[in-house]
Symmetry: D4
Subunit: 154 residues, 8 copies
Amino acid sequence: MQPLTVYLSGEIHTDWRTQVARGAEAEGLDIEFTMPVTDHEASDDCGVAILGGEETPFWKDHKGAKLNAIRTRTLIESADIVVVRFGDKYKQWNAAFDAGYAAALNTPLIVLHDPALTHALKEVDAASLAVAETPAQVVEILRYVQRGELRRAG
Amino acid sequence: MQPLTVYLSGEIHTDWRTQVARGAEAEGLDIEFTMPVTDHEASDDCGVAILGGEETPFWKDHKGAKLNAIRTRTLIESADIVVVRFGDKYKQWNAAFDAGYAAALNTPLIVLHDPALTHALKEVDAASLAVAETPAQVVEILRYVQRGELRRAG
Amino acid sequence: MQPLTVYLSGEIHTDWRTQVARGAEAEGLDIEFTMPVTDHEASDDCGVAILGGEETPFWKDHKGAKLNAIRTRTLIESADIVVVRFGDKYKQWNAAFDAGYAAALNTPLIVLHDPALTHALKEVDAASLAVAETPAQVVEILRYVQRGELRRAG
Amino acid sequence: MQPLTVYLSGEIHTDWRTQVARGAEAEGLDIEFTMPVTDHEASDDCGVAILGGEETPFWKDHKGAKLNAIRTRTLIESADIVVVRFGDKYKQWNAAFDAGYAAALNTPLIVLHDPALTHALKEVDAASLAVAETPAQVVEILRYVQRGELRRAG
Amino acid sequence: MQPLTVYLSGEIHTDWRTQVARGAEAEGLDIEFTMPVTDHEASDDCGVAILGGEETPFWKDHKGAKLNAIRTRTLIESADIVVVRFGDKYKQWNAAFDAGYAAALNTPLIVLHDPALTHALKEVDAASLAVAETPAQVVEILRYVQRGELRRAG
Amino acid sequence: MQPLTVYLSGEIHTDWRTQVARGAEAEGLDIEFTMPVTDHEASDDCGVAILGGEETPFWKDHKGAKLNAIRTRTLIESADIVVVRFGDKYKQWNAAFDAGYAAALNTPLIVLHDPALTHALKEVDAASLAVAETPAQVVEILRYVQRGELRRAG
Amino acid sequence: MQPLTVYLSGEIHTDWRTQVARGAEAEGLDIEFTMPVTDHEASDDCGVAILGGEETPFWKDHKGAKLNAIRTRTLIESADIVVVRFGDKYKQWNAAFDAGYAAALNTPLIVLHDPALTHALKEVDAASLAVAETPAQVVEILRYVQRGELRRAG
Amino acid sequence: MQPLTVYLSGEIHTDWRTQVARGAEAEGLDIEFTMPVTDHEASDDCGVAILGGEETPFWKDHKGAKLNAIRTRTLIESADIVVVRFGDKYKQWNAAFDAGYAAALNTPLIVLHDPALTHALKEVDAASLAVAETPAQVVEILRYVQRGELRRAG
């Protein structure tokens, strides 16, 4: 099958992206993973650090969020598949925003979250083609999608 | 100016939609407001009530969320402007999802939230054309957009 | 809520369209139902009857199917919601074709079929926002979508 | 001429895909063939095998069909040409669904089926740019499309 | 069925548009017919008459053709169905241009011409959903499309 | 011909919009004219007047320009034809911005300016379907487009 | 500058494509030229030669034109620039059809024809970004577009 | 991260493009920069030099601007990010036109100008994701977008 570009959106406080990427590499999959800036402080400060300081938190955030959007929109628009991870902390509204953006583009969406979040995420799950609970399941999905082979439990 | 269709997305636990609609009516604006189902229980139960019960919460939520999506997608696609309200409770990921959906469609977006949520909502705010703090400001924006007249404080 | 245009695709050998339309009327819903030509013979013969006879069945079918497509494409493109009904007879490939067409347009899709067809229709069901078993359920869905009120069993 | 990407949709119980691919290879055509998962059992079981078991056949099918859709939608969206094969067994609604999806995207469609199915497939044929009866004809079409040379019978 | 907007493109030297419009009216069809400017001299001279004279025929034609395009593009974009008529005189490249424009928009196309032009028009016919020979056939097609009733020869 | 919606963009310091609208009315044309807010001070101050003051001119302008964009984008997206007027004062970059926006949407564009600006506006003119010098010419174009009748100088 | 893909549509009875391609090669331009099948007989007979004979000329032409459309649509959709050549013989409606198709896609269009055809081609010229009279001018345009250097006559 | 294509639009009288390109190269970024023809005279004269002289300045400009549009539209359509620079001289309406074009395509936009132009450019700035004052800031933005690393002042 063709190479895939997979955008990994959402939670930045656990190493789930690394797990997905390493898992895919271990399987020999031909996938390019793209993602937002995952350095939290850089993501918060980029606007004022590059374009000059602001007196109010609102405009500091605004400038930074827009710079990050240059990256995230470009990458979501060019992704074949979007994976969005929700963790148990923080509001993570940017993750849900990315899911809505992908849905409007009709791009296949995989959601990754703990079952405890099922009710709160029901609208996002309903727009997805798969709801996974672990990074290993995401790898397995990507392997199945690219290779067309199903590994069954022994 | 032309009639407007404005979709009111997000928080369903305060009467902000009523405030916006009444304010617009009081101003004599020619606006049709559309919105998701705001009866929380109906929104949760619609899937199993109409299409039959489910044994697991996941599929109950899934069926309901998809039914609600028939309504919300149809209305967002046909809206001229989308207003998304974030309150101080709950995860409200569906609100952020709708904002992302509207952004991908290039539909003008107005976000309504308390300044306390600014940092958490910075990506959503960055995709919007206005960030309001009160329903009265939303009415004033809609009045300005439709009438082109600016009311100044005395 | 806004008026809706709902396209009723698929099976033409039972009166399910009438049931849906009458049910919606009984509920006072503001819905315009559109549909393909449901007179089977007219649908088969229209090409040669209007544009002249053909010697081979292939071109007779081809001419007729294209005339029908003028109607069906125009109506699917302008529908807010597409309902596709699969019965227990015939191949009904045109019904599945319409479902795929609606899915690519990102138009909300409701599928109506007997549970016995679940396995054969799994790809179509997976692309839908609701899978109903009876015309009454379709009416109830449309009522919920347009009114936002949920009727619960007594 | 440019390389082509051709998606081979539909029947998975005969070796028609192999015949098309080998024929194209024998002609030295520069074509990448893509296709759904053709291992029937894997295609049926992938959902529950990767994401966990379900108690009802409906949700088992649903999970699986959605996983398969991640692959099929990605590939149909990126195909230059879609070939859909209908055999003489099974309902094959997914094949007709794919044809409708391709038609809505305005992607050139080639249909491959026995003349006995002409009447039942007339709507699908009417949306296509070629109706072939044998895999060898599909190869010949692809050769003509890519090379621009017509081989005539001796 | 819904009202239809039908754009009548092509030949301006016979009264085929009048025949189609009167025929539709006689049948009581709910169709709005739109069309290019059919006053040949006005169509040729509009550019220089409104915007000032030109010394070379090329720029006179250019200005006029662009003014006409304001009308034709607006109307083709908003048409449900496009009918293109080719007569036996003149090059009529604008008619074929309109047909290509409609085809790229995936708008249903009906072509109207004498069988003597079949070979020269084969690419245009191949992109159409119907090839008629007389205005009466066009009326009959529109009647069938809107009413869904087929009149058979006695 | 169908009613038209015409967006009048650009210069706000002369009464050209009134001239166009009155001229169209005098001709009995069925045209709805839409336009940006033409009260210069309201347009400059709307952001801070409605959403609260800013300490820097940059953010004052930013807030105001975004509010105005809610109106202008909605209206440009729904216009059949866009007319852009350039005067002899100010930078008028918003006028050129609107012209580029309309061009990307493939919406017919009419540009209105003095011949003295021809060289500076050549890229905008090149994207247009008509370049007029007076509001009366714009009225005449709209009359020709809607009525299809050409008035010739006596 | 980036590599370009240029589709060469229209007249097949002179060697203009060869002149353009050789000229571009002589300049060292990085352009891939694509084109329809230019073997007239192959283009006419491909349908019946591959898919089986037809008794009527209409269906023979239809089958062939559709096969050719698989090639031409794929190539026009993927072209950066479309060049359409009109000669002094034949109707060449397919050339005008391709021009309309490209215009609807907003793809830059270059038209190549003798000044004698100016009046008949005014609508096509009006939709183009350049009207050339010789293949050498087309090469010069492509050279300018890709290199950004203008060669001036000595 | 993936390679980026960045279109550099606007002012051609300073060396800002060279500064951006050299800065990106010095950082080792994987970016292809594209741009309009920046040789002012070539850009003005290309139309008449290649396609033949004109008697009036209007048509000379028109022909040239259209040739340039072949290049600019192709490049803007294929850019991931568009940077538009406004200087302190000239009208630069083509720069604002390009910004509007990019905005309608939903392509991320960076604007580069002196703070003195803030008020005049407020609509363009409002449609952008970043407003920079120096070429070095543009380089820093591109570095951040591609690498995801933020360099902080010592």
